[in-house]
Amino acid sequence: MPSLEQNQSAFVAALREPRQDPPSFIAEPTPRSSLRRFNVYRNNVYAGLIGVLGARYPAVQRLVGDEFFKAMARIFIDGHPPHSPVLIEYGSGLAEFLRTFEPAADEPYLADVATLEWRMHQARHAADAIPLHASHLIQLDEGSAARLTIRLAPAVSLIVSEYPVFSLWRANASDEASSGHQTFSGAECVLVTRPDLIAEAVRIPQSSAMLIAALLEHKPLGAAIGSVLAVDPHFPLHRTLALLIAQKAIAGVASQDETFEETPS
């Protein structure tokens, strides 16, 4: 009789190898009846996790097709199994995996689409934040505004891609949106936020992305703006700040003088 550890090790090994016979210590109600029975477990493990990845990466799945996605996901799962039962956290490594996944080499933008989808997923589950009201910013004079550090909400992130990542994602994110492999071109930057309960992606100009990247690094507003203006003198500063406020992306500001935070009421 195998020990419990031996039993479970052999069970897992057989789960992962579809061509392997079920472990010999399984009782067969009738001879050779156990393969389809054991396959229920194989299917539960893999189909379940492939389903999780498919729900998390719908645009990647549409871009490569269901069959390719399932085969690719299976390889990913074997190399990167979940290490926690909290499957909300599962699948973060797919973008990195896709960068070196040879069969997908002719779709080099896939990794960035996967990054955008992962950030959307993270935004859905990010900690709640009370957005700063625009009036806090309006009250400030130019000098104190420059010294401000803007704290962005936990859901906020930025994707800077050399590919048309937003267009590809939007065209493939749902069945309704799906327009297949349309031809898109150019580099795109995307701001991900969660204004209320729904995560949103917005395509933004590269200069706006530079400012937001500087804010994500906690640079003071004046220095952040200065670094963007040095590259792009016509940078749409007001539109970028208005977008951050409209998307409820600003969770607080701090200056040397005082801190403005909305407190939960």
Binding site: Q8, F25, R32
Partner: protein, 297 residues
């Protein structure tokens, strides 16, 4: 939607044990229907693992449902039957989530789902041996001590059995309950599925179940398939109505247990709210009918 101040007032009313009524698994598809219509239903059950993110919609909705109804946590991730140790980090997260939502019940499965740090995303079967019994009792003890409360342990649905078993499943569960003080969750659909798949008598299983320890019953739908020899193979799919044979088994179980909270599990191909609610009302009717025909101590 009500204001938070009203929610805080309502929360005080919804403490206390889960009533001996039907509840359902709370699905995101039904969040809005439930909060808008506040249906007459006893309680809701959730998988705590689905609420271990930091914020966003899951917590927004669960906190509002919790303000109006009792809830139960039904874990899928503790891997009580693993030869390896209980994941202490996961146990700590579970404890923190319980402090936040104060579920009236907590249950887990007689199964294993992790191995060498990898999570296998399924409830895998155990050989019922003296060694397994020691492992399961040690883990149940550890969980109950860490959480500071009694848990319920659920009988699994199984597709295979092990050649070498020293105890029946019902004796095994009874012994775990006796040694650890835990309660049992009797999943009647699992009994039907396992009995069909492994060729034992479902009625006899119900009759042998340690009924005094049952604190909750689960009902759910299963799918029909066939094994390699064309023998029936039932899949615990939770994707449809409870079948008549399972309702009959439920009545048989209730004739042995006290009236206990009963859950309808419907996790895949989730129907519109009224369909799920009708299943819960069906269970309520059976509970009521049983209460008037069987006088229990």
């Amino acid at each position: 939607m009500r204001q938070d101040s009203q929610i805080r007032v309502l929360r005080r009313w919804s403490h206390g044990p889960i009533p001996a009524r039907a509840g359902v698994g709370l699905k995101p598809e039904h969040y809005e229907s439930v909060l808008e219509t506040l249906p007459d239903i006893g309680w809701f059950e959730v998988h705590p693992e689905n609420y271990m993110g930091d914020g966003g919609a899951p917590h927004f909705y669960l906190s509002r449902v919790r303000a109006r109804y009792p809830i139960s946590f039904h874990g899928v991730g503790l891997s009580i039957g693993s030869a390896g140790p209980v994941d202490k980090a996961h146990l700590a997260r579970l404890k923190a989530l319980m402090a936040r939502y104060e579920p009236a019940m907590f249950s887990e499965h007689l199964a294993w789902s992790t191995h060498d740090g990898a999570y296998l995303n399924d409830l895998l079967p155990l050989p019922y041996t003296a060694e397994t019994l020691n492992v399961v009792c040690r883990h149940v003890d550890e969980v109950q001590t860490a959480l500071g409360r009694r848990m319920l342990l659920e009988n699994p649905s199984t597709y295979i059995a092990f050649a070498h078993c020293e105890l029946s499943e019902t004796d095994f569960l009874g012994e775990v309950a006796r040694r650890t003080g835990c309660g049992l969750l009797l999943d009647v659909n699992n009994v039907f599925v396992s009995a069909t798949n492994n060729g034992f008598d479902a009625d006899a299983y119900i009759d042998a179940f340690p009924a005094a320890h049952v604190g909750e019953i689960h009902l759910g739908g299963h799918a029909d398939a066939e094994d390699d020899t064309d023998a029936p193979l039932l899949i615990d799919a939770h994707d449809r109505e409870v079948k008549d044979a399972v309702w009959a088994l439920y009545r048989r179980a209730l004739s042995r247990t006290s009236a206990v909270p009963t859950l309808i599990e419907w996790d895949n191909d989730v129907p519109a709210w009224p369909v799920l609610h009708a299943e819960a009302r069906h269970a309520d009717a059976v509970l009521k009918e049983n209460g008037t025909t069987h006088a229990k101590p």
